[in-house]
Symmetry: C2
Subunit: 231 residues, 2 copies
């Protein structure tokens, strides 16, 4: 019998290269819940393949007869649908508070990473995605992908500083979720894993508490994220 859960994940030319920060949030959430699932590689321009979800972006989770899109909605679905499995939020207050970290990742971390690796993302894309990606991102940044990435050796310093809130948390606890990882950890990890999968450019220095924290996340679930293909 086929597993009844399918996660559509953004992929590169190499279908095994799964790099979306949002898809990594959902994959880690499924693993945290101990649920079996299959993944299907998806490219930006394959709108028809997920048209059944009523929209055009991944992650999309098909869980039996239920279709859920948007990483936050997927986490919420998993928490409600599998209450006996390990919690992603640690309760209603934990879920509400996790939203802040979700918005911090979306508003601060991901834009900060995008400008550092956008040219590397382009390089790993399937040929059919490249024109769309270049046009949409160059419009967003107002310059060429190559120009955006040109000063990244300097731009990485303020990016690293933007992670100070997380870094400071790790001075007093092993994970953002406390003594063990919660969905909040997977949110921030997804951002760093996005960069790690597409780029050799190092976002973190080795003596950073966030570097060691990322190592712990890479080790989870039999090293699922560590074993994931990289460009």
């Amino acid at each position: 019998m086929a597993t009844s859960r399918i996660l559509y994940e953004l992929a590169g030319a190499n279908p095994g290269l799964r790099f979306s920060s949002y898809c990594w949030r959902s994959r880690m959430a499924l693993l945290h819940k101990g649920l079996e699932f299959e993944t299907i590689p998806w490219r930006f321009t394959e709108k028809k393949a997920i048209a059944f979800s009523g929209q055009g972006r991944v992650p999309v989770l098909v869980d039996g007869g239920t279709v859920i899109f948007d990483s936050w909605a997927i986490a919420d679905h998993l928490e409600r649908g599998y209450p006996a499995a390990p919690s992603l939020f640690g309760g209603a207050a934990g879920q509400a508070l996790t939203r802040f970290i979700n918005e911090f990742a979306d508003a601060v971390v991901n834009p900060g990473i995008a400008r550092l690796i956008v040219a590397d993302i382009f390089a790993v894309l399937h040929e059919k995605d490249r024109a769309y990606f270049r046009a949409s991102r160059e419009q967003r940044f107002g310059k060429s992908l190559e120009e955006v990435a040109a000063d990244r050796d300097a731009a990485v310093a303020p990016f690293r500083q933007s992670l100070d809130p997380a870094r400071r948390v790790l001075a007093s606890q092993a994970f953002l979720g406390g003594t063990s990882p919660l969905y909040a950890d997977y949110i921030l990890f997804g951002s760093l894993q996005w960069a790690r999968c597409v780029s050799a450019f190092e976002l973190l220095v080795e003596d950073d508490a966030l570097f060691a924290w990322r190592e712990r996340l890479l080790d989870l679930f039999d090293g699922n994220a560590r074993r994931a293909p990289r460009a």
Copy 2:
């Protein structure tokens, strides 16, 4: 019988003017727990008055025979010591996740506010605190207090943007804590109340979701924070 709880709060020349962001965190936490307490005004240079705490900064809470300093430690003490009163964190995960907001306030929000209002703070201080404050803050900023604040009409825009994570959370819930306020709300509120007490410079515009959120916080506990003296 005198109440058995005393909170030492930073005060200005006007002893009723209580403006420390950290002291506001602790005051709101005590109110949230429904505990009675008295406050004692304290100035930066009154080190002897809190020497019994083994250090030289406020907030300091004396709760019966227990002395606690540092706003996070005070919140932790109140949560552990009064488990039957309304929770500040909503559980262990909630407390761990609240740390992120605490560090965000300390690393991002408070430095952002300080540069906007530092000259206004100086103006409300007791005369005996002024030399200390000017010297320590001018060393920190590397310029005079007046020079720091000179471009605040321009500097307020990036400050407002730095609050985007909180603003985005409020698009989907009334408080950072969810449907009702938790300590996470008091942390961020403390930062804004610090500015509100010492300065007429408006950090928020009226159509900002954070403005409406701050209004809700000002209304809590019979308007305790709204009724607090301002410069």
